[in-house]
């Protein structure tokens, strides 16, 4: 072996029994035969390595089998280390280099634990290596599919990262991909139709994972938003949950702490305190935390809490007007908590220090000080803060709401918020803007790519109607007009020509029969009309029967056939979607490479679409075999076929154009 210092490490290795050199760089692993042309060179990017298997310790040859993504090359590469003196160390070194890659490719989260354990294991027996191989392979079993999905589509090696150096793939990117994968899986789980389509197209290797999700970002995003939501703190006031009545029926209950406090029949009151709850108590009442920190090693935790809950401090913390007066006498003196007792915050001025300034448009204090102090006293109902006992409660509400709000966005500090609102004048404009008074904004349209647009425009110009009757001279128009006028003035209604004459009165013969004169022309006309009506009636009836028959419920498609049709239709729809999105004009400013990729995709999709017709034919054939009316299958598939045809015609024109 040579060149330890350089980045490239070389080892003597046999590959398929041909001696050669295995060189390992930061990104690639390559094998070159010692004799020229004896064997193909092997060169693989390490970020494709997904597994490695080492021969057992003590076996004759020291070998290492490396498997790659998508099983290309087939069966992986098996290297046999041939340098008799150093082969075990050689293999270990190669393994050490490969481990991070394999681990990363298997499981996008950097698996430092495994890596660490291997690096510390120094035994040259190869046992640790095998154990790694085992863990690695067991991992691979569970995450194989995952890898398939994440890995670049269609087996093109490492698509998203081929350009750069794969080894530099940061953990952040990996984490991102893992997250995305998870999201995709969730979307599919939720959406059975999509899952079916996915199974057919992606797992059926018709299109790649990336292509499938292209254009469906909104779904992923929605899922992500759902996924990223975490349950927040319960918004109910803490002490409210300690109410003994909380669990009772008919009372309004809620919050997470229902039933924390339970009274056994006449027995002692039992409190169930969870860690979560104590944390909330500390958060809500920092003095309790203070006391806890000071005294708890001294007194037991149980004692601490039981004393707290029977102390006056607790009663004060509940901030409610109720009961406290009644209970006051029952409360014991408590040397720990009583020192934290303080006057309730019930003065007009809050005890808490307030910032000096708020946004001017919310600044109520400014108004109070705008024109000196009011020299009149408001009537007794309008003096704020007269109900002193309510003030601490009100302040706690505001404070609690604020805490909940802050808990939701713990990483955003308050000062940043104020600055952003305060310093810019734009916010104030926002406050006064009437948005509907602005004219409609310029729409972001994509120009329609009309073929032979110029020709169309010309045609339209010619068609444009000019004058009353185009192509007639004024004299002609005049004569038409005069003719019409004379026609109108000399109009004489000729009712006989439009209306049947009355057959007339027929004298009755002496024998009582009506003397129907068959030869009477009026009668003949009448008979004709009657017959014609009868015939028309017949026709209408016929039509009616037929239309009824048409809308009658047909026998359902056989399950097998129906499945095929559905799958064919789904696939075609997805191809169409892909195709149309691929030929959509790119937004200005997109990269050229992107345009090329789109072009390639369009052609690929067109190819897929071309096969649709054959598929439909096959389905019809199946229908024939199953003894089902092929016409109905054809009709059912007609819209799909039509849509595909339109796309293909479009494609033909598009390809011809340049």
């Amino acid at each position: 072996m040579a060149g330890e210092t350089s980045k490239v490490r070389r080892y003597d290795v046999d590959f398929k029994k041909v001696p050669g050199t295995l060189s390992v760089t930061a990104t690639h692993i390559a094998w070159v035969p010692k004799t020229q042309g004896a064997m193909d060179r092997q060169n693989q990017s390490m970020d494709r390595a997904i597994n490695m298997l080492a021969s057992k310790a003590g076996s004759k040859s020291i070998s290492l089998k490396v498997l790659f993504k998508d099983d290309i090359p087939l069966g992986g590469l098996t290297f046999v280390f041939s340098n008799v003196t150093t082969r075990e160390n050689d293999r270990k070194e190669v393994q050490d280099i490969l481990i991070p890659f394999v681990a990363a490719n298997k499981n996008p989260q950097p698996n430092t634990a495994t890596a660490a354990s291997t690096s510390t294991a120094t035994a040259p027996t190869g046992v640790p290596s095998t154990s790694i191989a085992q863990t690695v392979s067991s991992l691979s079993a569970s995450s194989k599919r995952k890898l398939d999905d994440i890995s670049s589509p269609g087996g093109t090696p490492g698509t998203p990262i081929t350009g750069g150096s794969p080894a530099t793939l940061s953990p952040a990117v990996r984490a991102q991909r893992k997250k995305e994968y998870k999201l995709r899986q969730k979307v599919l789980e939720k959406n059975p139709t999509l899952r079916m389509l996915h199974r057919e197209l992606v797992i059926g290797k018709q299109i790649t994972e990336e292509e499938f999700w292209d254009g469906r970002e909104a779904l992923i995003q929605a899922e992500e938003m759902l996924y990223s939501q975490k349950p927040g703190r319960a918004s109910r006031l803490l002490d409210d949950r300690f109410d003994l009545d909380a669990g009772r029926k008919g009372k309004s209950t809620g919050g997470t702490g229902v039933g924390i406090k339970q009274a056994d029949q006449n027995g002692p009151i039992v409190l169930k305190l969870s860690k979560e709850l104590t944390r909330e108590i500390f958060e809500e009442f920092p003095v309790v935390q203070d006391a806890y920190a000071k005294y708890v090693p001294g007194i037991s935790e149980t004692e601490f809490w039981s004393r707290y809950f029977t102390s006056q401090l607790w009663e004060r913390h509940r901030a409610s007007v109720r009961k406290s007066a009644v209970d006051e006498s029952a409360r014991k003196k408590d040397d720990i908590f009583d020192q934290y007792l303080e006057e309730p915050d019930w003065n007009i001025q809050p005890r808490q220090t307030l910032p000096d300034d708020v946004e001017r448009f919310l600044d109520l204090a400014a108004t109070e000080e705008d024109h000196g102090e009011a020299i009149t006293v408001r009537d007794v109902t309008m003096q704020a803060g007269r109900e002193r006992s309510a003030l601490p409660l009100i302040r706690r509400f505001n404070d609690h709401s604020k805490k909940l709000l802050r808990a939701a966005e713990a990483n955003r500090d308050e000062s940043a918020l104020t600055d952003s609102l305060y310093d810019t004048g734009i916010d104030l404009y926002n406050e006064i803007d009437l948005e509907d008074l602005h004219g409609p904004a310029q729409e972001n349209t994509i120009a329609l790519d009309v073929q032979e647009a110029a020709g169309e425009a010309d045609k339209q110009g010619q068609e444009g109607v000019v004058g009353v009757l185009p192509g007639k001279s004024d004299e002609e128009l005049l004569s038409i007009a005069t003719e019409s006028t004379t026609n109108l003035t000399h109009f004489k209604p000729d009712f006989a020509s439009v209306c049947l004459p009355n057959p007339g009165f027929h004298p009755v013969d002496s024998d009582g029969t009506t003397n129907l004169n068959e030869t009477n022309p009026a009668y003949q006309a009448f008979a004709e009309q009657r017959n014609a009506q009868a015939a028309a009636h017949q026709v209408v009836k016929d039509l009616h029967v037929r239309s009824n028959a048409e809308s009658a419920i047909n026998s359902p498609f056989p399950e097998q056939l129906y499945e095929q049709m559905k799958s064919c239709h789904n696939a075609a729809t997805e191809f169409l979607r892909q195709y149309w999105s691929a030929i959509l004009p790119s937004q200005a400013g997109t990269l050229n490479t992107n345009v090329k990729a789109k072009e390639g995709k369009a052609i690929k999709m067109a190819n897929y679409l071309r096969s649709t017709e054959n598929k439909v034919k096959a389905i019809i054939e199946t229908g024939v075999i199953l003894g089902f009316d092929p016409e109905r299958v054809k009709k059912a598939m007609a819209p799909t076929v039509g849509a595909v045809r339109v796309a293909l015609e479009r494609e033909a024109k598009r390809v011809k154009k340049p």
Partner: protein, 806 residues
């Protein structure tokens, strides 16, 4: 857009226009052309301020007379918004190529809101800021400080202003209050004095009502405003109360004690000055012989020391001899304070006229009316002569002196009320001596007299005839505009009973009934459950809100609300409430949703908007009637009945309804905005109550929605929210949104109508023209009298000396 109103080109900073805005501007222009006053009611949230400003600025800039605009608003947030509105308008005008040259617009507020001085600005109370500022900037302090640097602390921001040219302290443009502060910080100049000294040079000045109505401020600030100025009172629905407040004064026991201490302190100071610099007092005495007004020549730094009476009622004559000497004046004040203290020991309610008070005063203390009239100004002169600092210590004394001056100056329309107990049930006396003004027209009269065009406008100023009556003026135009809507953007509902059919009301007798409290609570719960984002609820008084919040909490109602939304409550402290409001808005923005509980007529109900997601529903719990047991209110009602023939109930309902309407109107801004308006009180179902709501709200309360139970109302609300949330094309124009073409079409139609009318008139006149002329001679007398009857002035009738026994 730019459009023509007659010959006036109007630049409006949007592409579209609401029809109401067009009519509003047209009426405004008519008023300005005619040179009179007007009362205009424009629905809330339809861009009143922007229409007003763009028309008036166009008007000012187009006609060569160059009138000024004095724009008064209620609260600092509203002033700031109006300034922003103006700033944006001017930006738009510049964009459109209007050459506005040296156009300047500023807003004035108190020192407390503008101060940059590192220490003074830390003070929370405006009174103390004013006083400390005076110590650093008063003429005598400056004089000393400049002559001998370091001997007296001066304010560097104030000193820096001297380096600027008068009338050009700040570059042309529009500055919001925050802008001026920022500018001041950059240049190291005092924002307050920059604005104060620029006032005569401004084209637009925006400040609160008080700067024009309250004699204590107006004299100093607004005296120099040109008579040609256009005066606008925006959000003027409460203007009568501002007028009354500005001429009223209340004294309490602690105040008298503090005043007594001040008198002693000043007396010590006089003794001290007498020994060191008796010349000063001599000089003052001489000046006072000349007359007070000369002695107190106007000085900008002394604006906390001015007379509390209107300038026309001020005396320009020699100060009576018995208070000319400082010691005599101090003795005079001592006697007066002692007298007031004695009066306050009385344990029953006393109501008396100023005359009777003065008579009694004279009887006991020999204090005459005339010297008492001078009390406030004489004190000012003394404070100045003694070069007192920290005058906030003497605030109470000032108030007592003002009280004396007011009592001695005004007779008609005022009443003195002594209330020994705060409430009926109180046992510990806490006496308050009210000197209360009953006639709002007194304070505003000088404004109507002085300025040719006064515009009184608001979203809720119904019934329109009320204001001219109680403020005693004749408007040229009185108009209320309906709201044009392409879809019903708001749903007013009157809930009269709970789901259990128990009627709900904030009537005093039932408001604390558990069933009513619970039903009010269930409305809140259901609304919090149903409505997205923000819900605002208003209570009729602080007292009621504070008691109901505790009750709700104990009933577990608030726990239910917590499940759906965060809860914020208005507190007595303004800053604390502002913080709560900010958090409320944040919760509305991030989707958490919140409920804000506040009080009608309270701090939040005025000046804070709850548009869009900040208020999808507003609930008015009960009718915000004033506290009818208040003696001041009773006196005022009596005054209204006797002088304007307004019945007590009519006024009370009018007053309650304007505040209710004001509260619910806060939820709308623009026509894409939507919101629910819930009136929860069975009394709202009555036609006489609802009739007093502004037309634009009342028109949308259908009979079916005017008597609902909670459950039905909630299902209606759900339906409404579902419907309103459907995508809707807000760009369609013609009905509630006009483009330039729509305006022109309307104008054309108006012109045609006018021509047609003229033609008809001419035709009908032409036919009978000769008859008409002849008829003119012997007009049907009865007819004329009939017509005249409606406008006979009450005063004129009163003056007719009708024998009593008739």
């Amino acid at each position: 857009m730019k459009f023509m109103l007659g010959d006036l080109p109007v630049l409006f900073p949007y592409d579209r226009l609401y029809p109401e805005q067009y009519s509003y501007m047209a009426d405004l222009k008519t008023t300005l052309d005619a040179g009179g006053h007007c009362v205009l009611e424009m629905p809330s949230g339809t861009g009143k301020t922007v229409s007003l400003l763009s028309l008036i600025v166009s008007y000012m800039q187009f006609y060569p007379t160059k009138r000024k605009l004095i724009y008064c608003s209620r609260t600092v947030p509203e002033i700031e918004k109006a300034l922003a509105e103006l700033k944006r308008l001017m930006e738009y005008r510049a964009e459109m190529g209007a050459n506005d040259g040296e156009f300047r617009g500023l807003g004035l507020t108190s020192r407390r809101n503008l101060c940059l001085h590192p220490e003074v600005s830390k003070e929370k109370k405006g009174k103390i800021v004013d006083s400390r500022c005076r110590d650093l900037t008063s003429a005598f302090a400056c004089e000393k400080g400049r002559a001998n640097p370091g001997s007296v602390p001066l304010c560097s921001y104030h000193e820096e202003l001297n380096n600027y040219e008068t009338g050009n302290l700040i570059p042309p443009g529009i500055y919001t209050i925050d802008d001026v502060k920022k500018y001041g910080k950059e240049k190291g100049v005092c924002p307050y004095f920059t604005i104060r000294r620029m006032l005569p040079f401004l084209d637009v000045v925006i400040y609160s009502f008080h700067y024009l109505l309250d004699p204590k401020v107006a004299e100093q600030v607004s005296a120099e405003m040109s008579k040609e100025s256009i005066v606008v009172f925006d959000e003027a629905h409460n203007i009568d109360n501002v007028c009354i407040e500005s001429l009223s004064i209340d004294l309490t026991r602690p105040m008298l004690d503090s005043a007594a201490r001040s008198v002693n302190k000043i007396s010590d100071k006089i003794a001290e000055i007498k020994e060191t610099d008796s010349q000063k007092l001599e000089d003052e005495y001489k000046k006072l012989v000349e007359g007070l007004q000369e002695a107190n020549e106007q000085r900008e730094d002394e604006d906390m020391l001015v007379s509390p009476v209107l300038s026309k009622d001020m005396l320009d004559e020699a100060v009576p001899g018995n208070i000319r000497k400082a010691e005599h004046f101090i003795a005079f004040l001592k006697r007066f304070i002692e007298y007031l203290k004695t009066r306050m020991r009385v344990l029953h309610v006393v109501a008396e006229t100023p005359q009777s008070f003065l008579a009694h005063l004279k009887e006991i203390t020999y204090i005459e009316k005339r010297p008492l009239k001078f009390a406030a100004e004489r004190l000012t002169s003394l404070v100045r002569t003694l070069e007192l600092t920290n005058i906030d210590e003497h605030y109470s004394l000032q108030k007592v002196a003002s009280f004396g001056t007011l009592v001695a100056t005004y007779e008609k329309g005022f009443l003195l009320i002594l209330e020994p107990y705060e409430t009926e049930h109180a046992t510990v006396p806490n006496p308050i001596f009210h000197f209360t003004c009953l006639d709002p027209s007194l304070a505003i009269a000088p404004v109507f007299e002085r300025f040719s065009s006064v515009v009184i406008t608001s979203g809720t100023i119904s019934p329109l005839d009320m204001y001219p009556k109680i403020l005693q003026f004749r408007p040229v135009t009185e108009q209320s505009y309906p709201m044009t809507l392409t879809r019903n953007a708001f749903l007013p509902m009157v809930i009269t009973r709970g789901s259990d059919q128990v009627p709900i009301s904030s009537r005093f007798e039932v408001r604390n009934d558990p069933a009513v409290v619970r039903n009010f609570g269930s409305i809140l719960i259901d609304m919090a459950k149903t409505v997205p984002d923000g819900v605002v609820a208003f209570f009729p008084s602080y007292l009621y809100m504070e008691s109901i919040v505790s009750a709700w909490y104990d009933m577990g109602i608030l726990s239910e609300v917590w499940k759906h939304k965060l809860l914020f409550v208005e507190t007595p402290d303004a800053m604390e409430t502002s913080i709560a409001l900010r958090n409320y808005r944040e919760a509305c923005n991030n989707g958490r949703g919140a409920v804000m509980l506040s009080v009608a007529r309270g701090k939040v109900s005025e000046g804070i908007d709850f548009d869009h997601n900040y208020g999808r529903a507003v609930i008015m719990f009960g009718i915000p009637y004033q506290y009818t047991e208040s003696r001041i209110l009773k006196a005022r009602l009596e005054f209204l009945r006797d002088n304007h023939r307004i019945r007590e109930n009519d006024y009370l309902t009018f007053d309650a309804m304007r505040h209710a309407a004001q509260c619910v109107g806060r939820v709308l801004r623009g026509k894409t905005d939507w919101g629910l308006m819930v009136f929860a009180d069975k009394r709202f179902a009555r036609q006489d109550k609802r009739a007093k709501l502004p037309k634009w709200i009342n028109a949308y309360i259908t009979e079916a929605h005017s008597n609902l139970s909670t459950d039905v109302a909630i299902s209606l609300a759900k339906k409404f929210i579902r419907q309103i949330s459907q995508p809707f094309d807000h760009t369609q124009t013609g009905i509630s949104l006009w483009t330039l073409e729509d305006i022109e079409r309307r104008q054309l139609q108006d012109r045609e109508d006018a021509e047609k009318a003229e033609l008809e008139l001419k035709q009908s006149l032409g036919k009978n023209h000769r008859n008409a002329v002849e008829d003119d001679v012997d007009v049907d007398v009865d007819f004329v009298m009939d017509d005249y009857d409606g406008v006979v002035d009450d005063e004129e009738l009163a003056r007719l000396d009708i024998p009593d026994d008739m």
